[in-house]
Symmetry: D2
Subunit: 333 residues, 4 copies
């Protein structure tokens, strides 16, 4: 960590700062420039609050040199984390998994049919929403406990582990048999929720927040890992920009950036990112081409009754085509 002192910093203020930093066990190296003095802090700076230091009268600016995350940092854990999702499905470390299923769980018939169809097409995990975060209080919010029961039924029928979103701690008892718990984009910085799932012994799929940097995302992974749960999967799902042609802007460069910075697996959700089913295929292929460890794709079972499905869902046939071509791309790279 670098602390840049003001030109007119008073000696007394600088001494107080030195004493404070010394108490935290840090060594200080001074660099005297023409217009400013720089203090280089050596030691474990992960507990130093840069905002606090920056607030001091004597300080012009503070810059971090090292990443504030440790457990998630590839520097300290060079080997890829491989997350065991159950039923032998491993995510990360060179494998590639397809998570597919309906946006919302609606009925036993629907979820079992989709589950069988996506399994046949190459999916290895089943997704489906039981608790749905909706912008409007008047919109359908999911089948809740009944939705999870139907997902477990579909798992029984197909053998696929299930992934579903947890929106609030109070619902946690319903998730006991769920294989992978998803934390949605809007909850990426719901720190109480992160702490609690950090105590569980099951994989957590952590979606990126709509306006969160890669570093903030890794700090949220760090929250989970600090609790003892190292089974974290990161899921890029688009960020908010000024562009309105797509629902969000899929930040695919986050995939190779994350592979540098962290050992955690990274998957991509092209369905929610783009908001249009016809953009799912090109963006799924692109995600595979830039090194994603998996894809999360919405699939609906019956194009005839499309009224009940989101605009971003593929048919099982379209999903099968995507899955096949993704494998070809992976072979190519």
């Amino acid at each position: 960590m670098i602390v840049i002192l003001k030109q007119n910093a008073q000696a007394e203020q600088v001494d107080r700062l030195k004493a404070f930093l010394g108490q935290m066990g840090l060594q200080i190296h001074f660099s005297q420039g023409e217009n400013s003095t720089i203090m280089g802090l050596v030691g474990d700076t992960s507990r130093v609050d840069p905002d606090l230091i920056a607030s001091l009268d004597a300080v012009e600016d503070v810059r971090r040199i090292q990443e504030p995350y440790k457990s998630a940092n590839r520097k300290f854990h060079p080997a890829d984390t491989v997350v065991d999702c159950g039923a032998g499905v491993k995510l990360g470390g060179g494998s590639f998994q397809f998570i597919a299923g309906p946006c919302s769980v609606e009925s036993e018939e629907q979820v079992v049919a989709v589950a069988k169809a996506v399994k046949a097409a190459g999916a290895t995990l089943l997704r489906g929403g039981a608790f749905k975060p909706r912008t409007s209080p008047y919109a359908f919010q999911g089948l809740h406990g009944e939705g999870i029961r139907l997902l477990l039924l579909a798992r029984q029928e197909t053998g696929m582990p299930i992934v579903t979103e947890l929106m609030d701690l109070s619902h946690l008892p319903l998730f006991e048999d769920v294989d992978v718990i998803q934390i949605g984009a809007r909850n990426m910085q719901n720190f109480e929720l992160l702490k609690e799932v950090g105590k569980l012994h099951k994989p957590i799929l952590l979606k990126r927040g709509l306006a969160n940097t890669i570093q903030e995302w890794l700090m949220s992974a760090e929250y989970i890992m600090a609790g003892g749960n190292a089974q974290v999967i990161l899921c890029e799902r688009g960020i908010r920009t000024y562009e309105t042609a797509t629902r969000n802007t899929l930040d695919l460069s986050a995939v190779p950036v994350l592979h540098e910075k962290t050992h955690l697996p990274v998957i991509v959700d092209p369905s929610h990112a783009t908001g249009f089913s016809r953009l799912v295929k090109p963006m799924a292929l692109a995600a595979a081409a830039c090194g994603a460890d998996g894809l999360m794709i919405e699939v609906h079972n019956d194009p005839k009754r499309a009224l009940c499905d989101g605009p971003q869902s593929l048919t099982p046939e379209e999903f099968a085509d995507v899955a096949r071509r993704v494998q070809l791309v992976r072979t190519a790279i």
Copy 2:
């Protein structure tokens, strides 16, 4: 709501859509253009999911004509909502309130001293963090229940109602005596939390999310109001943009925009928005000038031990100066 059909929409698809919309009690007006056909939907469209309609094969685009919020909409409730914060403090409807206090509650001595100082300078509500959302799991997270106890002590000493942030439903029992519950920016779309505080009989101060539109913000207010709690205060606190000279970009034009769209009071937090104490005064004056109903400002008690305060906190003297000038600006406009 306007539904734009594709040029090549099949009659059968259009008929299915007409039947579906008819079942929802909507009338349909057709407008035949050269390159497209437009359906105007007349009736209560608040329960129609535009994404769902847009997903149909026959549909090119869907545009909302009316706002999806009702309880929060000024069209249906022209008169300003005045929120009673306790102890005779009313927010909205032409009055102006100063909410001031420390970033975090640290000790009885600190919070009582700050409370007395800000009251003397014109503050009418005391703020202070007991539960602190922090990006890093290793940073100080607040005194929790003890923090709330200290705030209540300060209320006893000064008579000022208190405002403090609720981060998770499980902490709700500790907030029984709190006057105004704050929902932080990161929880603006924590829908389970919104639903639950919608059942309470106390004012809710709802901060804008870092990447949320004004419409999404009003939909979150709608979540609270749909539960029966109409005592909602909106607080603009900066949005995330590419500019890095300030922590966030304070969107002051949101103040007059909200005054048009909603009857709820709107306050501004220049401390968190800018991240620098020296920017608090100009932005507080600007907020008053464009019609805000109040300000929320961080104040620390002792510049000598500034190490424990955020870079965005004013001294009580600085706060008194801001409060005095804000009143002058309000008289001017």
Copy 3:
């Protein structure tokens, strides 16, 4: 185009608006709702200024139904445009071209060496900056006319057509022998420049502005095409977002979106978008996977003297590897 009238619009105002729209040759269809009246305008609305209509007292909102671009619109020109870049190099319509070369042209030795190396590795067009837009007036701004002379020398040596950036109309005489003129991101809305290159008979490579929507980009292409020059190549090069891990955020979903909306070819520049050479390969593969018609990649000739090259440049060997894998990905999809 849809015009939504205010609830309290006066009959006189509405009549004046009807007369105004009638004079423009538009038919008007009225749709009377409970809370608003909607006017559907039928006819050629491309010359109607929506901002102007929206400014009227009687009008609540205006929504476009049709795209404001015509020449660039795929609806009116379904077949892919194939741009002839000279020397038999065709861009668009299913082919794939690699544009490669140094960031800045520095010397005959450098540009000829890079040109030969990238040609051997599969490049079909040579890029190189003679006029360099630099944020700082104190930074190197390019060799100008001499730079173009060196590019033409490299073309003579290798047979590759050249692409280089035009920053101002006054430099146009120097570009007479240039094969493809690049309009940079910062000039995407330099409308006088667009009009002038619209009069030329050579291909224009139009980069997307840092904060421009896809629609604005197509409107800038429309400026060029309105002048008579239909040889426009679009180049996605990243947009400005709050994320700082990459220089800009490469918006790859723009590629399939553009292929829907326009018949013009779309290429991707992963070098400038990411700002890091190690991210060029994954993003180049991703661009090919989602359907780009070509890539523009920075290559420097001598890693030993990397001091003179940008952080985003590949070595010729790295470029050859990228080019080879891109072809594999293209075969896969």
Copy 4:
């Protein structure tokens, strides 16, 4: 400037970097940490290209300590610049000026009528567009030379200096008698244009680009000043964000930030920023409250024929009310 070396940097690479920096006359201070080595560069780093250094194999990151602008920097020129706009109108240094007039110049009658009306209401400079940057090639682009002639006529009638936008160098001869030349948002990084107006002896009003940081804006001012023209006025006019309720997001905190960083005067254009006339008044008052040195406001002459004016224009009466209240706010602060 701080250079952070990689953990595994090779001694040979570091030596080459040291030699390179030494040649530039910089001293180097080393700080050896546990996980990284930091080089502090002391001396004139304004000509060092941080991107170039960051591209080296041995380097992990580069951070600037000092601002890259010199002429515009308040550190080196503490006193406010006061720009003489002609006819005794001075901008900056504690005064406050109103620039008002129509969006586009349309006729002698219109521009003279508006000029007289805004002068009576307190305006000291007349604005009006002769060259209009329009997103669409099919939209009205201004009266060009004839528009400037009409503005000069209005100046003759009222004595007010005129401000109008220059879009291209080739139009410069027409601007000989113009008092203040405006560089629009889309041309903020048109570096050739900046260089050329840097050679003139008249004030330049430099609007902020839609997606440009405050630092980039100051670098563009530096371009003008580096040519010898120190008469630069900065104009905040909104930045592009994801919010769509206003045309752009007016970044008022830029005003006090700029007053810290630079000695140049800063004005605000609430008309273009918000895009709605009803938001002009509150945002004009807010701009005055946070310390702006002036305002630029669109005024049209005849509400009856509003069809020819933009949605963001005030009537002269509304402008007079804004001007009067702005003065009250300025007295208050």
